[in-house]
């Protein structure tokens, strides 16, 4: 127990180090808590008034949420299943520590950083809900079941991650298959041929059954037994995995501490995660010898986005776009410009993330291009075009998942995406942004990109809204505006390159 405690304390101390060391951070977090926690209490109180609470498919919705939660745990497992600081590998894994001691400490730590911090939020929400419904026992049981489920997800994720890190044949395929199977019942929202979450026996649906039963009455015993059986099975898998010598397979997955916004370290982690997904990113190559300089630069940036880990964040944001699309689709049968607009608005984050990643990983390498200043403008124009391609692909996927909206609404979203890409690239080309924490400059793309994109998309949205009144002139107006915008933002990064500093 002593060594487990020592490793756990080390992990907590080093992870929360920046918080422990800064009175300003503690004050900021305290203030944020004071502002947000009361709203959780209020949200809990009014939860029974929401359509969600009255839905006849609440158990299925809970099941969907918990399945996504579990899928996230499993996706994290691709990177090795543990949260390990590099110093732990050098100085702990070379000490006479048993794998199970290390893994138990790691699980405790993972639970601390991912779930235990949510307990105050859950607790306050529960108090609000309890004050409204009086079902204190049901609410308390639900929280306990949720925390047990969260712990179960971490245990499974760690065990599967260790198998992947050990290079067990088929482990990664099994992991990916598990994620797909967990998310597959969401297809029922589009097709009745696939069984929904209420019909499938997952750990997540069993937990959802217990929670729904506790909150609304109904059978609790059946799902509880099912949940317990899943728990035992997962524990057995963990016991088997943790009995092996895991130290040669430990990976340094935790380079960034809490509140530490070192973008270079974040980017390194993304890159490491991409590597964890396999050799896919290395297998995709482009011929940089072919084509005009601008085409070569665009292909170069597309390859870089794939290899430096940016693609992970793009994938995550595309997933959010799909969820937004699906939500819009469920709430409305007809195409809506609002739907297209929300999709476009969310897509704005993609160029922002791409520019952040570029700034963190690539800026310092630019001395190679800077030595040939003739191509600096082409370099940034290529970056803009590559970002636009990636953002448009993500937007199209999001649009296909939901209601696409009217054609002019779609054009507005596309223009917003182009404007966002052009602005983001222009900002990082013209302004040297530090990669360390908490500076105004470091959040500049976040501050500048959305307003510019909104300003660019606004006129097209206005045309879409008043298309009926404008009549035949609507489309020529939009096309002329689109050409102007595309021309302008294709040239802006090249101008910004003149101000570039290494």
């Amino acid at each position: 127990m002593g060594r487990i405690r020592t490793v756990y304390e080390f992990k907590v101390r080093q992870f929360f180090g920046p918080v422990f060391r800064s009175a300003a951070t503690i004050a900021f977090l305290g203030l944020a808590g004071l502002v947000t926690l009361p709203s959780v209490l209020v949200a809990g109180f009014f939860l029974p008034d929401t359509p969600l609470w009255r839905s006849t498919e609440l158990a299925g919705l809970f099941g969907a949420g918990l399945s996504a939660f579990l899928a996230f745990d499993l996706l994290f497992a691709v990177s090795g299943g543990t949260l390990t600081h590099p110093a732990e590998i050098d100085f702990f894994a070379t000490a006479p520590l048993r794998p199970r001691q290390y893994l138990a400490a790691d699980l405790l730590f993972q639970f601390t950083v991912t779930d235990a911090l949510a307990i105050p939020v859950l607790g306050l929400g529960a108090i609000g809900l309890g004050l409204r419904t009086g079902n204190w026992a049901g609410i308390f049981s639900s929280i306990v079941v949720f925390l047990l489920f969260a712990a179960m997800g971490l245990v499974l994720g760690q065990a599967m991650g260790l198998a992947v890190a050990a290079g067990k044949r088929g482990a990664k395929s099994v992991l990916v298959a598990m994620v797909i199977v967990l998310l597959l019942p969401s297809v029922r929202w589009y097709s009745p041929l696939v069984p929904g979450y209420a019909q499938v026996p997952f750990p997540s649906t069993a937990a959802a059954g217990v929670i729904a039963g506790s909150l609304f009455g109904g059978d609790v015993l059946g799902p509880a037994v099912e949940f317990a059986l899943f728990g035992v099975a997962i524990l057995v898998v963990w016991i088997v995995q943790s009995g092996r010598d895991i130290f040669p397979n430990l990976r340094p997955t935790m380079r960034v501490a809490f509140g530490q916004a070192d973008l270079r370290k974040v980017a390194m982690r993304q890159e490491a995660l991409t590597r964890g997904l396999g050799r896919l990113t290395r297998r995709v190559t482009v011929d940089l010898m072919k084509g005009a300089p601008i085409a070569m630069m665009t292909r170069f940036h597309l390859m870089r986005i794939l290899r430096d880990g940016s693609i992970l964040m793009v994938g995550l944001l595309t997933g959010i776009l799909v969820v937004i699309g699906a939500a819009n689709r469920v709430s409305s049968d007809s195409p809506s410009d609002f739907s297209a607009f929300t999709t476009g608005w969310t897509a704005l984050m993609i160029p922002v993330i791409l520019s952040f990643n570029w700034n963190a990983t690539e800026r310092a390498n630019l001395w190679t291009v800077a030595m040939a200043p003739k191509y600096l403008g082409t370099y940034f124009r290529g970056f803009y075009r590559a970002a636009a391609v990636v953002t448009l692909v993500a937007s199209v996927v999001g649009a296909l998942a939901g209601n696409a909206g009217s054609p002019i609404g779609v054009v507005a979203s596309i223009l917003m995406a182009f404007a966002a890409c052009g602005t983001a690239v222009t900002v990082v080309a013209a302004v040297k942004i530090p990669t360390d924490a908490f500076s105004l400059k470091s959040v500049l793309p976040f501050l500048v990109v959305p307003p510019v994109a909104l300003a660019v998309g606004g006129p097209a949205i206005a045309v879409a809204i008043f298309a009926g009144s404008l009549g035949l002139i609507a489309w020529p107006l939009v096309i002329a505006y689109a050409v102007l915008i595309l021309y302008l933002f294709d040239r802006l990064p090249r101008r910004a390159a003149l101000r570039f500093e290494l």
């Binding site: 002593g2 060594r3 020592t6 490793v7 304390e9 080390f10 101390r13 080093q14 180090g17 920046p18 422990f20 060391r21 600081h85 590099p86 110093a87 590998i89 050098d90 100085f91 702990f92 894994a93 070379t94 000490a95 006479p96 520590l97 048993r98 010598d245 130290f247 040669p248 340094p252 501490a257 530490q260």
Partner: protein
């Protein structure tokens, strides 16, 4: 290869490949108690891979490792109690102080509190880290970080000390302190293995040296024995010997490791 007295470390026919690319190819050596043993070789020769296998951070494809009479394959954990390791590039937890970090490492090594406090105080003083011991590691210079990493590797008083490029970025006083600490281990009949590119240091510090090239031992022995093997003359430096041996050691490589693994985890 037979060791004349019970050796602190025996490596027998070690093989390791990364994705099919050879890193260590049938490497064998032994280190005697009371000896500082140097591993020198070009980049990519397999030195770091060998050391990582010895400390349990890598699994070999084939081979046998015995530390202080204990076969590592039979119990891959207990032997580590007597081993200290300083990696090639040390990554330390930025938001702990040097004192906190050493305390964690010592507690993990289950040192009694009083002994740990005394040992840390002694190490910090000798490595000139006493002043900044309560500063965050993030504020340490490269050399200070290296010295702190070294302190962590010896805080428990190991019988076998494995050092991978321990002197890079360290000031002369720090280098002297590190060498003294390494010699202190050997005075207690412990053994030290040092991997380094600093040939002059290896020449002065090490009792015996192995020149590693392409995953194999190109030559091994005292400097005089190496001079003989390299036929470089009695006044030649280790650099002359090294250049000659690595040039000569372009021997044809064996295509595959032996088929039957002696380690339970071997392929």
């Amino acid at each position: 290869m037979a060791a004349p007295v019970p050796a602190s470390l025996i490596i027998e026919n070690l093989w390791k490949r990364y994705d099919g690319k050879p890193a260590v190819e049938g490497l064998s050596l032994f280190v005697q108690p009371g000896e500082i043993f140097g591993l020198v070789g070009p980049n990519g020769a397999g030195k770091t891979t060998t050391l990582k296998i010895v400390v349990g951070l890598l699994k070999p494809d084939y081979g046998r490792i015995v530390v202080d009479g204990r076969d590592v394959a039979e119990n891959p954990f207990e032997y580590k109690a007597g081993v200290g390791y300083l990696p090639e590039s040390t990554t330390l937890p930025d938001y702990l102080t040097g004192l906190e970090f050493l305390t964690f490492v010592g507690r993990l090594r289950e040192m009694p509190r009083e002994a740990l406090e005394a040992r840390i105080a002694d190490l910090l003083r000798r490595l000139d880290l006493d002043g900044p011991k309560r500063d965050l590691i993030v504020t340490y210079s490269k050399g200070m970080r290296q010295k702190l990493g070294f302190a962590a590797s010896v805080v428990h008083g190991p019988r076998m000390l494995i050092l991978d490029e321990p002197l890079i970025g360290v000031d002369p006083a720090g280098q002297h302190a590190i060498k003294e600490e390494a010699r202190a281990v050997t005075r207690q009949r412990g053994a030290v293995v040092v991997s380094t590119h600093m040939l002059d240091t290896a020449e002065k510090l090490c009792d015996r040296i192995a020149v590693v090239h392409r995953g194999r031992i190109a030559a091994m022995g005292t400097l005089a024995e190496l001079r003989g093997a390299a036929r470089t003359g009695a006044d030649s430096t280790l650099e002359d010997v090294f250049l000659r041996l690595t040039e000569e050691a372009a021997i044809p490589l064996s295509p595959e490791p032996p088929r039957r693994p002696r380690f339970p985890w071997g392929r």
